[in-house]
Subunit: 149 residues, 2 copies
DNA sequence: GTCCATGCAAACTGTTTGCACGCGC
DNA sequence: GCGCGTGCAAACAGTTTGCATGGAC
């Protein structure tokens, strides 16, 4: 654990940033959780180990870690962001419109889509978000409200 | 034009809603634009034709039209939503991280991904959002800031 | 010791809501 | 005329920022 933090420290130093206890802690919290935490949840979990930490620091650190590529930000549709430590493999999300349950999945076909678009439009794609919505197994019979005509 | 509004009126009546001038106007604005407007932009455009319209009405109407399936809401990552009148064909988005340019594209392979996940997880998928980010042709040489390590 | 990072509180943006009036039906 | 929809302003949620203090290096 501590040797991985040393590597981390070096990455920070190279870019003129400091590895503070708060930044360590927030990264720990994200790595320890395999859920998609929002800023408030990260804040609550961090407070358990550092009661004085502030929500502003959580936001600043999440932005920083995102810029450095250590965490990913997802907007799954509820007006606030979710964060998670980066995995090696890309993965995507399904969200149930009824109960909010999130299912993660992989979809290798996305790489074909990326390649096609890159070639056709001459763009360089750095990130793909695929977000499916619908009704999970448990909610399917009750999909009453707020749906297309 | 007016006969299409009559059809619209009927859809509203069936669900106990009223087709007000504001609702018409907002739908007009969205249909007239082939861009992705945010609520503020819809508000500004609507004010040209109805100076007394309020931003609250714009939000309420956008929510309503989304629930009725007439418009789609996109969260392309900047902390506010974009809206557009529904097209028949599904389409997806690429956003340039540098200049914000949006390219729309189709990706028929998505239907395979949808089918796979539905079968594997037993979910019913009603909507797919694919959002690619990266650098457009013009911005590729200057992709300096804020990128993964 | 230097200067970046933090905590606090206030500001800010995008969105929602309570209420009395107005308009579609 | 009944009741949904509107405009207005205030409230709200999530996030950002200014400033003085504190901690990493």
């Amino acid at each position: 654990m501590s040797e991985s933090r040393d590597m981390l420290r070096e990455v920070f130093r190279e870019t003129g940033r400091r590895l503070t206890s708060q930044r360590c802690l927030i990264l720990d919290v994200l790595e320890a959780s395999d859920e998609h935490l929002d800023a408030e949840a990260v804040y609550e979990l961090a407070k358990d180990r550092a009661p004085d930490i502030s929500l502003a620091t959580v936001y600043r650190t999440l932005t920083l870690l995102r810029e450095m590529g250590f965490v990913e930000e997802h907007r799954l549709g509820e007006g606030h962001c979710h964060y998670e430590a980066v995995h090696e493999e890309p993965h995507y999300h399904f969200t149930c419109r009824k109960c909010g349950k999130v299912i993660e999945f992989d979809a290798p076909l996305i790489s074909r889509i990326r390649r096609d678009l890159s070639q056709r439009e001459g763009v360089k794609i750095t990130k793909a978000h695929l977000h499916l919505t619908g009704y999970c197994r448990d909610c399917q019979d009750r999909e009453t409200s707020g749906d297309p005509v």
